[in-house]
Amino acid sequence: MATRVKESRARHRRLDLSDDDLLAMYRMMVTARLCDEAQFRLNRQGKAPFVVPVSGHEGCQVATAWALRRGHDYFVPYYRDMAVCLTAGLTPHDVFLGVFGKRDDPSSGGRQMPAHWSARRLNIVTGSSPIATQIPHAAGIAYAIKYRGADAVVASWFGDGATSEGDWHEGLNFSGIHRLPVVWVCENNRYAISVPLSKQMAVEHVSERASAYGFPGETVDGNDVLACHEAMKRAVDRARNGDGPTLLECMTYRFHPHTSDDDDRTYRSREEVEEAKRNDPILLFGNHLKQQGLLDDERVEALRAECKTLVDQEVDRAWNAPDPEPESVMRHVFAETGAEDGDEDLESHGTEAVPAEPPRADRAEEEEGDGR
């Protein structure tokens, strides 16, 4: 046992993850899960018309986003990526401002459905509902980074269904031709709403498609946080070193229906869902941390209670936040000249400063100092 713990610890140290990092990652996953539970509760209470669940995906989302430099690298997510965006710097408060469509929702000021993440100050790139449309954008941002000789990296996340879209093919192809600094992260949960993988593609793994674009593809267990992080870190390093894109496929599962408007009982059995929950990434990562002696049952409960208090507070605070002004519906169709909009604070849609947790900002500065 002791040897195993040592080896395992060596594994995360090799990934430049401290014990505190692991605990912060775990906390981030738990926070996302609790935000998800809260938003579903609000939906059933009639307070949130539409929500997009993340539960089941927290492991691969936090693990992959953790390999990027917050505020420096680019995050090009899709709607399931609450935990990616929390890792990138959005807060639970931001999440619920979006859920309630509030004025200060950083993603869109209440214009988009919840989960259409965006925050320019955090390099979280605005997206839409049509699938895979963000893929060419990620390629274009990566091209611009290369053009400017900057060392930032772009990562774009998407589901397995997205890989059938023409834009997905076009974006990956372009990134391969120009060896762009981008990592393509597929969160493969085996269903595009109701359509299973077998009706989405004739190959076993999304990662196999990478060979058609001339860069490596890799499939990892999306519920194994360290495995995801390790693969992502490798891919990010490749991208930052000018070695081009990687397609990373994280095999995972979505515990809830596609959205609050979906009924997954029509296309998958309860047994299948329950079976998948045995590989809940939060459970598995928690067990790992217990093995490391970093957590025990009591601390897990305490941490969960602490996160729940915070999430509940943020729900209340967001619920009581101001709604958008009806007249503001006409704003931002085109650039505003400023003077005639004097009554509006153009900066008012921002959120608070980048939160201190997780301890990533410090790390980013260190990395910036290493002269790469």
């Binding site: 680019y74 320019r120 060419p136 980074i145 849609h349």
Partner: protein, 328 residues
């Protein structure tokens, strides 16, 4: 001042803009070694290199989509769609993405980019090399649609489009490319987007038009003056969206008669919006019906010469309709 045709003017202007600002780059099919099928980017690859003159894969959606990403990271991409007819695969990227990025992010992100596309008929381009696409995009708030038709406007509006903080669809009528010549100032200048231009002053009726039709309307107006002593005012809208209603309405208020000429399919075309605007605002000041002259409602322009001629509004038919309205 230098006498140039439209395509040479666009080439020179784009070249000057790229020389002046290294954030400007071009991407599209055959824009590199070939210099573009219409030669708009001829010599660019040699002058600016592969990083700024990107021969893209044959994939229109990502030509626009990649340009959007570049724009979001501070570059000023000029994407070329080889023929406007081929832009449809990029419809979603233009309508759902480029045009909405500012709005949907509540002003946080923006997408300053230009999409150039040669449009229009009269060149034996048939169904897939002749289309008018301005109405599709004129319907979409968040993207500006411009249709310069003279070398002077082509230069000033391309410069304005590249400097615009929002996406601009810059449509170049391909029959005007080499047919229309004019004096172009050598120094840089802008023609503002969203401002129409009275290309010919007159008293007896107003003709509102754009593209190749502008030149046919000017010819017809000249003939009307000479043969009938009737004077037509010709308004070149230059920008489809946002439409300069004031200039159009001022002219119609003066002449009390309005005709709209466009080569797109007549129904739901840009001319419908212009006619509706006039009807809405000037109903009781009109001395005649608003006349709309557009292409017939067939799927697209056919190839064979008699069929193509039957489709395209021509100077003779425009003249007849102008005379009829002037005499009404």
């Amino acid at each position: 001042m230098t006498e140039k045709n439209v395509v040479q003017t666009i080439h020179d202007t784009l070249q000057e803009e790229m020389q002046a600002d290294d954030r400007v780059l071009v991407l599209g099919e055959d824009v590199g070694a070939r210099g573009g099928v219409f030669r708009v980017t001829a010599g660019f690859l040699e002058e600016f290199g592969e990083m700024r003159v990107i021969d893209t894969p044959l994939a229109e959606s990502s030509i626009v989509g990649v340009a959007i990403g570049m724009a979001m990271h501070g570059l000023l991409p000029v994407a070329e769609i080889q023929f406007a007819d081929f832009i449809h695969p990029a419809f979603d990227q233009i309508v759902s993405e480029a045009a909405r990025i500012r709005y949907r992010s509540n002003g946080d992100w923006s997408c300053p980019m230009v999409i150039r596309a040669p449009w229009g008929g009269g060149v034996h381009g048939a169904l897939y090399h002749s289309q008018s696409i301005e109405a599709f995009y004129g319907h979409v708030p968040g993207i500006k649609v411009v249709v310069p038709s003279t070398p002077y406007d082509a230069k000033g509006m391309l410069r304005a489009a590249i400097r615009d903080p929002d996406p601009v669809l810059y449509l170049e009528h391909k029959k005007t490319y080499r047919l229309i010549k004019g004096k172009v100032p050598d120094e840089p200048y802008e023609v503002p987007i969203g401002v129409a231009d009275v290309k010919r002053e007159g008293e007896d009726l107003t003709v509102v038009t754009y593209g190749l039709m502008l030149h046919l309307c000017l010819e017809a107006a000249e003939r009307l003056q000479q043969e009938e002593g009737l004077s037509a005012e010709v308004v070149d809208v230059r920008t489809i969206a946002p439409l300069d209603k004031a200039t159009i309405l001022d002219s119609v208020r003066k002449t009390a008669k309005a005709m709209v000429v466009y080569e797109d399919n007549r129904t739901y075309g840009a001319g419908a919006e212009i006619a509706a605007t006039i009807a809405e605002e000037l109903m009781f000041e009109l001395d005649g019906p608003i006349v709309r002259f557009g292409g017939p409602d067939i799927p697209a322009m056919p190839f064979a010469t008699p069929l193509e001629h039957q489709y395209m509004p021509d100077t003779g038919r425009i003249y007849e309709k102008m005379r009829e309205l002037a005499r009404f």
